[in-house]
Symmetry: C2
Subunit: 430 residues, 2 copies
């Protein structure tokens, strides 16, 4: 290749950024062969230019002014790995408007302002790629956008937060309590000092919104995602799951129901034979149900410098190839507005754990409330006796609204001490 | 879009072809949005034009002359789903030389003549895409080629033959013999009347060659693939695997070892915690180990009209988008010749089942042969007594050559009645 290398401006040089610099350096030949031209990282914006970084780049490539990189005539492509909405949003907008393709790993930004940014990119006729924003190194958005371009996706169910999956694995396999498992995750660096975004499901919700946007070509807002975390889960729930042949996972679900879209994040009982049940520790996986393709699962490391940098580099090679060939990458097309089906109209099977007074007639009183609200019971099992008696119910498919009304009513049934956890039960597959 | 639709000539209209025609018809809007232009199937070559087909195409679109389609000026893109090497090879060559992008699902052709055809495509400057040739609906080649474009792949391990995986699942979970499981597979339509290509590993070998070619950008010939099937597996082996914490799978392995390439297909003991162990029935999955990305697994339906048609359509949309935008898809780049490491130099752990005379000194005699050939034993367990006594060995990592010499020597050790199965044991991950 006699062509000059494509010049990349990098915004941010933390874990992912420095892993990317190393990959570009070490795999230069491979990258040149795939992209059709060499790639050189010429400018890097960081907060503190004096800090030592373990990357092979001359000090004069660093600047603390990201805006200068975006407007630099010597930068052809911009890679954003700073995170956060501000100033990333403005910087990416300016880069796109200046005709520079952008690759970003920023899930928060894409979940909140994706549609706006896709519009800017389309108008400028350049690529905006964001594979690394969901499930780190797992090729997910490209397969959804390209490999399944002609198929109709019915549902995508993902384990997209490694921290909570690590915690749930420790609870299920090591018998740890939620608090102990969280403390372990923090010690190992899987969970932040403030774990809220992970354990409350906010991180998964942002990824769910992006998945739904790409899978259905729909404008999905973060507010459209019903979100429940795992902080309320008890040892009892984890134990019940095991007894019933399930394992509890935090799932992100994006589905199409009769033309409506529904997107949600919540813990769920996953049948042991379901491929998602085998996803352990901090791994991520995404299970896709498509009309023609059937069932697909993509599994791998959802986070970490290496996997995320590999995803960024895949996008970067794509953007560079398109830039050089004058082509254009696969876009997600024109986004449409789709009705969002509210939670109470969705259907699922449910697991309920109810603490009761252990005496005759209890079951009849409780079963009566289920029946009155149109929720039918698939199985019931009593655990413990006397003051510690608990009834474990699994319902047939029922409406969320009806189930919620049942729970509300059960709270006033005299022998019921407490309605504990209510968990969705996923159907089996295959 | 005001542009005329892109005209597709289809070679073959069996399971995959007719599923493709239906998808193109039913999902026209989605396809137009993704491809940037409409797609129309204008010509279809079939053996017998009079046969009824359940597709919505006017009878005058059918011809029994595939060559006419390839040379037709009214055909922009060619899709080949006839299978076989002849006449597909000549037809695809002519189509590419005529400047028409080609999408094919033909694993035999790509495994045997891929490098030659990639050369023709490169020279003509048009796309030759073949996602459906390996693992049906699972997006595999595109992620290897694009998402992991900048990463270095160390090893790819696949369960890429659904027939044998169904048979092995029935043997492991239902206690069926090989013969009974095969008969079941034939009754269900998973296995052909002549199951040789599946059970002897030839089908998997063709896919392994394609995977190695794409993963390593190397010219891999089908003859380079060491191939063993599952016909020699006994109930004993399946039972031993269970006892030892493994499950037997037919795996296709493509790996890079110090710059050499090694590609092989053989049954292996897969640890129960390995993600591949959970791949049941006729499902396929491919486990990828990359330097930056870490461990990835892609799972789904490896065969069937729907999944394969979905893969063909993904490629078709890609080819059409490139055709219209004037760009070019990601190619696998210039293929290089890499040394192929011969089997006897590869290393693995091994499982051996040895039928012996049940008397003192047997173990010492056998262990002596292992030691003499530099193979060290990790575990030994006796099963059965008296005339039915068998010793089950698992070795530490050893060279294939040394292990083969050990087996050869054991055949002359007096208390050894028979050396039964020898299976590779895969390492754990995570």
């Amino acid at each position: 290749m006699m062509q000059d290398p494509v010049r990349v401006g990098l915004l941010g040089c933390g874990n992912v950024g420095s892993a990317l610099v190393r990959l570009v350096d070490e795999h230069a030949d491979r990258i040149t062969a795939r992209a059709g031209v060499g790639i050189e990282i010429t400018r890097v914006a960081v907060r503190d230019v004096t800090r030592h970084r373990d990357v092979k780049l001359a000090p004069d490539r660093f600047t603390d002014d990201p805006s200068a990189i975006v407007h630099d005539h010597d930068v052809d492509v911009v890679v954003e790995v700073m995170g956060g909405v501000d100033p990333s949003r403005a910087l990416i907008t300016e880069a796109l408007e200046a005709g520079k393709p952008v690759v970003t790993a920023n899930k928060e930004l894409i979940a909140r302002h994706g549609p706006e940014l896709f519009g800017v990119a389309a108008k400028a006729g350049v690529d905006l790629l964001f594979e690394a924003s969901v499930a780190g190194g797992i090729p997910l958005l490209r397969p959804l956008r390209e490999s399944l371009a002609g198929d109709r996706i019915h549902r995508v169910t993902g384990i997209v937060n490694g921290t909570t999956n690590y915690i749930l694995t420790r609870m299920a396999e090591g018998g740890a309590s939620f608090a102990d498992a969280l403390a372990d995750a923090q010690r190992l660096g899987y969970a932040e000092a403030d774990p809220t975004a992970d354990v409350e499901g906010y991180d998964a919700a942002a990824k769910a919104a992006i998945i739904a946007t790409v899978a259905f070509g729909a404008r999905v807002r973060l507010e459209d995602v019903h979100t429940e975390g795992i902080t309320g889960l008890t040892d009892d729930d984890v134990e019940s799951a095991k007894l019933l042949g399930y394992v509890v996972k935090l799932v992100a679900v994006a589905e199409e129901i009769d033309g409506d879209i529904a997107v949600r994040v919540h813990p769920a009982m996953v049948p042991l034979h379901h491929p998602l049940a085998a996803v352990r520790d901090s791994f991520n996986a995404v299970f896709i149900e498509g009309e023609a393709v059937g069932e697909l699962m993509l599994y791998g490391r959802g986070a970490g410098g290496g996997p995320s940098a590999a995803a960024v580099l895949g996008d970067l090679v794509d953007a560079v190839r398109n830039l050089v060939s004058g082509g254009k990458g696969a876009t997600i097309g024109e986004l449409v507005d789709r009705p969002v089906r509210p939670l109470h109209k969705l259907e699922s099977q449910f697991y309920l754990l109810i603490e009761v007074a252990d005496r005759p007639g209890v079951l009849a009183a409780i079963a009566g409330e289920f029946g009155r609200h149109g929720v039918s019971i698939q199985s019931m099992e009593q655990r413990g006796l006397g003051a510690g008696a608990r009834l474990i119910f699994v319902t047939h498919r029922a409406r969320e609204g009806d189930l919620a009304a049942t729970v509300e009513a059960l709270r006033s049934v005299e022998p019921v001490h407490r309605v504990g956890s209510v968990l969705r039960v996923m159907g089996d597959v295959g």
